[in-house]
């Protein structure tokens, strides 16, 4: 079995991600001005938005990996879906925690049943279910195809859940940067936008670094299993 990312290149990716995370944190926490209304609490946005975007990226990769696995039956695609789901759960949980910490000083509550919060929580539940399903089926190939199906259904269900919880209620901040009436750079201080952009790239790099590590782990587990089988165990 072959690794898709050679070891030394993965090291560079990790180093670059680390540097960008540090620069991004400096830019977001120190360099960018505090928000006019929310003060320093707003700075959590520099982590909050990148983490939810990477979580979405993750669930998209679960969907892609699941489709490919059902289609071609290659172990590689299944490992991709599994790795992406695990890291996706991590980033979704992070998003919820960050949001809560921000919500307490800004809204006065840790949690509220707003549409976007509810959607994120349901996403977390769906993909925690996905991980549980995997761990509760012993037979490798069964677990892989079962998980692939749940990954596909879960992804297809997201737009419907999105619509229903939005109709149900909405209280979250409307998007302040990507608005139809103004260009993004008019809505926000340039230093804030730069901080957000840096953090976003930092998170994406960090994400792919973690993904490649987790992917390699999956491949090695697979390799051990094959070798054991070859030795007649």
């Amino acid at each position: 079995m072959q690794t898709t990312v050679p070891k030394n290149r993965r090291g560079y990716l990790g180093a670059l991600a680390l540097i960008l995370v540090i620069v991004g944190l400096y830019w977001g926490l120190i360099h960018a001005p505090p928000d006019a209304y929310q003060g320093n609490a707003q700075r959590i946005m520099y982590l909050h938005i990148p983490s939810i975007l990477t979580a979405y990226l993750s669930f998209f990769l679960v969907f892609v990996g699941s489709c490919l696995y059902l289609w071609k039956r290659e172990k590689r695609d299944d490992i991709l879906a599994y790795s992406a789901a695990e890291i996706g759960v991590l980033f979704t949980a992070l998003t919820i925690v960050e949001g809560s910490i921000w919500g307490k000083p800004t809204w006065g509550v840790w949690w509220t049943w707003d549409a976007r919060l509810t959607l994120t929580a349901i996403l977390l539940l769906i993909f925690v279910g996905y991980l549980m399903l995997r761990s509760l089926i012993e037979e490798e190939s069964r677990a892989a195809s079962a998980a692939a199906i749940l990954g596909i259904i879960g992804f297809l269900d997201i737009p419907l859940i999105h619509m229903s919880v939005y109709w149900w209620r909405t209280l979250h901040q409307p998007p302040s940067i990507l608005r139809p009436d103004k260009a993004p750079w008019d809505n926000i201080h340039p230093a804030m936008l730069t901080a957000l952009a840096i953090n976003f790239f930092a998170f994406v790099l960090l994400y792919f670094y973690l993904l490649s590590l987790r992917f390699r782990l999956g491949e090695m587990t697979e390799e051990i299993k094959t070798r054991r089988m070859d030795r007649g165990r």
Binding site: L70, G129, M132, I137, E139, A146, I153, M163
Partner: protein, 225 residues
């Protein structure tokens, strides 16, 4: 046509089995009734409050009884390796999916037809006007529930502790169905017709159509042994 014929044959097999044993139907029916009593004790419902809470309570009762049915859905096939034999036979797996879905829908509808009037009698609701429409909406919700339920019950077939796992993966995915059905039912009890809940009804229909299609296409892999 062949798909429908195969579906019919498989469905008839399940129905005959169920009519002879009456296991699922009786358990589901008594569990549904039991839930009505539990709700009554927990909320101490007075008539003014009942109309407000009826949609949520009814739908919760259906959801729980439906889950009970789903966990039993492939029980007959699991013993004596009947499933292997069934999968070896030259039939479309989509037909198996449709038959199982229809079977669970029939069970749930049978329970609903009894439980809804019972709810009206037990909680002294006066107006019976919206009941047929209410059952209609419940039917659409039931389709959505059974479609995904059957699919996931096939997926979890070989899992350990599958009875516990099934609701865990099913309920988060059920959010659109739960919200849409309850909002439609509320509108019916408030106005006597679907009125302003038409978008919810569309969402519910959309959910049913999408997942029936996805189910037929994907079930082949879901049940693969």
């Amino acid at each position: 046509m062949k798909l429908l014929r195969q579906t019919y044959l498989l469905l008839r097999k399940d129905l005959v089995l169920e009519l002879r044993r009456r296991e699922s139907l009786l358990t589901m029916f008594f569990f549904g009734t039991l839930l009505l009593f539990v709700f009554h004790f927990s909320f101490d419902l007075v008539p003014e409050k009942v109309t407000e809470m009826a949609p949520a309570l009814l739908w919760l009762a259906f959801l729980f009884t439906g889950t009970l049915g789903l966990t039993q859905l492939f029980e007959a096939e699991r013993t004596n390796h009947c499933l292997d034999a069934l999968l070896l036979s030259p039939m479309d797996r989509g037909a198996l999916f449709l038959a199982k879905t229809c079977f669970n829908i029939i069970l749930m509808v049978a329970v609903e037809i009894v439980v809804v009037p019972l709810f009206w009698i037990l909680f002294n609701l006066r107006s019976w006007e919206g009941v047929p429409l209410l059952l209609g909406v419940a039917f659409l919700g039931t389709i959505g529930f059974c479609v995904l339920g059957t699919l996931l019950s096939g997926v979890t077939l070989k899992a350990r502790a599958r009875e516990l796992l099934l609701p865990l993966v099913l309920f988060p995915l059920m959010v659109p169905v739960i919200l849409a059905t309850i909002r439609c039912m509320e509108a019916i009890l408030r106005n006597g017709n679907i009125g302003d809940a038409v978008p919810w009804l569309r969402l519910l229909l959309g959910f049913d159509v999408i997942f029936v299609t996805v189910g037929i296409l994907i079930f082949d892999w879901a049940i693969d042994v």
